[in-house]
Symmetry: D2
Subunit: 226 residues, 4 copies
C-alpha cells in the first residue's frame, strides 16, 4: 500500500457473524466494496478461516495475531511463517484482546518485514503508541480500550488523542501509517479520522454486526475518501 | 467413532511441511490411506488452515487447540464455536506445547460435549492422565514430554507407562479412549500401542517430516489393525 | 496437621489492609486467636511479606502461589524452594485469581510433598475437584468463582455442592482434606461447612476487611469447633 | 539518586544462595560495601524475602517484578502498592526471565512514578531499548539475552551495543539512566560499562554465586567509580 492510500481494516474478531462460511460471505462483501470504491479494504478473519478466506477473495487478508516463535514443534500456536504459507499479507499484533510482550512485538515486526508481511500494531495510549511506532511497523492502530465496542467513536470522544497520536507516532517513525479504531462506525467517523491525520480506520462490530454490512462499508469507504 | 475403532491422529503442528497448501496435500494423503485401509485417520492442521483443509477432505479434521472463552470480542483467540463454525469435528487440548489450566480444560471438555465436538486431552504422566480422564473427554493422549519428537517410541521406551496409563484412565472414566504419542513412528510402534490397550496413536513428525508420508501412514494403519 | 484437626486459612490476598506492616499485625491477631481457641489458623500473606510474617508468628504461614520452575535463573518468579527457604509451611495453588496448568499443579504437588510443604489446591467445580484431589494434595479448597467475595456463603447458596465435593474429593483420594471457601464470613457459615463434611474454611475479605478481625476470627474458630 | 550517581544493582533472582536467611546475609554484605565505598548498591531479593530484607538493611531494596493490577482480589500476584507497603524503593520490570506486555510496562512505569517508586526496565535490543526508554522509566538495563549468565561481559562481547543503547535511550528520554547487564562480573567490566556511557551495572550470578561476594562487590564498586 502506498503512503497516500486510505485503508479500512475490518477485524472479524471471533464473532459468529463472521466465522466459518459467514467469514467468506463477509469477506466477499468487503471485496465488492473495495472494487466499487477503490478504497483498500483489509479483512482479518478468525484464525481457523484464514486460508479459506484468502482462497475466496483478492483483497488483502491479515491474521489477527501471530506468536513470536518458530514454525515446527509449536502445536496450537501460529508463527508468521504459517500465516505466510496460508497466503496472508500481514497481521494485527498486540490487539487489546491479545496483548503481547514488547520483546515479542519487536521480534515479530522485524521478522514480518523480512518476510514481506505488513504489521498493524494496536496501541492504547500515547506512550505505547510512541514505543510501538519506534519499532517501525507499517501501521499503528490507536484504540483506547475504554472505547472499543462502544457507541461513541474515538474521533468524537477524544479527537485530540487521535491527532496527538499521529504526531507522536510519525515523530517516532516518519514512515508509519496511523489507523484509528475504537467505536468507529460511520463514514462521518472515518472522515473525521482522516481529517485528524490518520490513514484510515480499524473496526469490527460496526461492520460485523451491522444488519447491512455493505451499506456500512460503502459509507466508511466514502468517509475515508473525503 | 465407536469404542472398537482404531484411530491414528496426525498432528501437523506448525511445521512448514504441513502448512498452507502443503496442509491440504498432506490431509489428502491421510484421506486416501483412510479410504484404502478403513482405519480412522484424523488430521489436526495449523490453525490458519483449518477451514481450508476441512473443505478439501472428508476425514475428520480437528483443531490443535481451543481457548476457553466466548466467541465475539476475543481477537486472536479461537473459541470452540469458531472451530465448529469452520466445520471441525473436534480438538486437541493441553498439548505439551500448549498446556492449559485445569479449570479451562474442564470447561472446554464440557462445552465441546454440548456442541458435539470430540476432545483429545494430552497428558504427561499418570496423575495428570487420571485427572484429565476424570473430566470425561473422548480421548486422552499420553505423551511423556521427554520422548516427543524423539527417535524412540514410548511403547518401547516405557511400555509400562502406556498400559498403566490405560488402566488409570479407564478407571477414572471407563468411556475414555486412550491414545499413545511421543516418538511413535512405525507400524510396529502402533501395533505395540494397541497391544498395550490403547485405541491408537497420536503422532506428528513421523508423518509430517517423512519423505514418503503415504508409506508411513499405510504402515501405521496396518499396525493399529493388527 | 492431623486429619481430625479443624482449620481456618486466611488468604490475605493483595489487600492493602493486609499488606506490609499490616500483614504482620493481622497475622499476630490470627496467632492470638489460634492460641486462645486451639484451632489451627494458617495465614497466606502477600508474596513480599512472606518471610517477615514468618519471622513474626508461630502459626503456619503459607504462600499464595508457587511457580513450577527451578530456583535460580528465574527472576520475578517463586519456586517452592524459595518459599521453603523463607520458612513457609505450605502454599495455596490454583486460586481462582491465579489458575495453573494441570501439569504444573501435578508437578508442584509432587515436589511440595518431597519438600515437606503442604498444598491447598483451589477448585471451582466437581470435575476439577475430582481431578485435583486425584493429584493427592493435602487439601482441596472448593470455591465456586461466582461466590468469591460475595455476601452469601457457599454453604448457604449451594450446600449440596459442598457435601458433593467432599464426597467426590475423598473418593478420588481418601487422604485429602476439604476446605470450603467463597463467601464464608461467619461462625455460622463455618459450622455449616463442618457439618457438610469439610475440615474447615478458606476465606479472605471476611477477615481482612472486617472492622474487628479478632471478633470475626473468634466466631469462625468457634464455628469450626462446633 | 542523582544523575551523577553510579549504581550497582544486584538481582538475587531465585537462587538458593540468595534466598531466605541467605538473602538477608547477602543484602548486609551489599550494605557494608555501599557504606565503605559510597557507591549506591541496590538489591532485588526473591519475592518472599522482600520485606524481611528491607527490615534488615538501609540500602535501597527493589522488587524483581510487579504485576499491572490493583491490590485486593488478586491472590498470588504483586501490585506496586504491595511492594510499596513492604517498603521497597523500586522494582525491576520486564526482566528477560519475566517479560511484560508493552501496555503493562507503560502502566506500571506511570503508576510507579505517581507512587514514588523507581523503575528499571530491562531490554534486549536497540528497538526495545528505545521503546522502553520512551516510557520514561528511571532506568533501562540492557541485557542481550544470549549473554545473560554467561562468561563474557556484554561490554567486551559487544561494546558497540552498549554505547549505541545509551545513545538511543537518551535520545528517546534524556532523563533516563542506562545500566548494563549480561555477563558483567568484574570491576573491569563495570569500569568499561561506565566508559561506554552507562550509569552502572545490573548483575546476578557474578555476585550471588561468588565464593567471596564482598570481594566481588568491592571490585565492582571500584570499577564504577573509576
Amino acid at each position: 500500500m502506498s503512503a497516500s492510500e486510505r485503508v479500512v481494516i475490518v477485524n472479524f474478531k471471533t464473532y459468529l457473524e463472521s466465522s466459518g462460511a459467514r467469514a467468506v460471505v463477509l469477506a466477499r462483501i468487503c471485496e465488492s466494496v473495495a472494487d466499487e470504491t477503490g478504497v483498500t479494504i483489509v479483512v482479518a478473519p478468525p484464525m481457523p478461516d484464514l486460508a479459506s478466506v484468502i482462497a475466496a477473495v483478492t483483497i488483502p487478508v491479515f491474521s489477527q495475531h501471530a506468536d513470536d516463535l518458530k514454525p515446527g514443534s509449536t502445536t496450537g500456536h501460529v508463527a508468521l511463517e504459517n500465516i505466510l504459507a496460508s497466503g496472508a499479507k500481514g497481521t494485527l499484533l498486540n490487539h487489546s484482546e491479545r496483548r503481547l510482550r514488547i520483546s515479542d512485538i519487536s521480534s515479530l515486526v522485524g521478522n514480518a518485514k523480512r518476510n514481506g508481511l505488513s504489521t498493524v500494531v494496536c496501541t492504547n495510549d500515547l506512550p505505547v503508541t510512541r514505543a510501538c511506532a519506534g519499532l517501525e511497523p507499517d501501521f499503528v492502530a490507536i484504540e483506547p480500550p475504554e472505547l472499543i465496542g462502544g457507541d461513541m467513536s474515538v474521533t468524537t470522544a477524544n479527537p485530540e488523542i487521535v491527532s496527538e497520536s499521529v504526531r507522536v507516532a510519525k515523530k517516532a517513525f516518519p514512515g508509519v501509517k496511523v489507523l484509528c479504531g475504537a467505536g468507529v462506525k460511520t463514514g462521518e467517523d472515518a472522515a473525521k479520522a482522516i481529517e485528524l491525520g490518520t490513514n484510515g480506520v480499524l473496526l469490527a462490530s460496526g461492520v460485523v454486526k451491522a444488519s447491512d454490512p455493505k451499506r456500512v462499508l460503502l459509507d466508511l469507504a466514502a468517509g475515508v475518501q473525503r
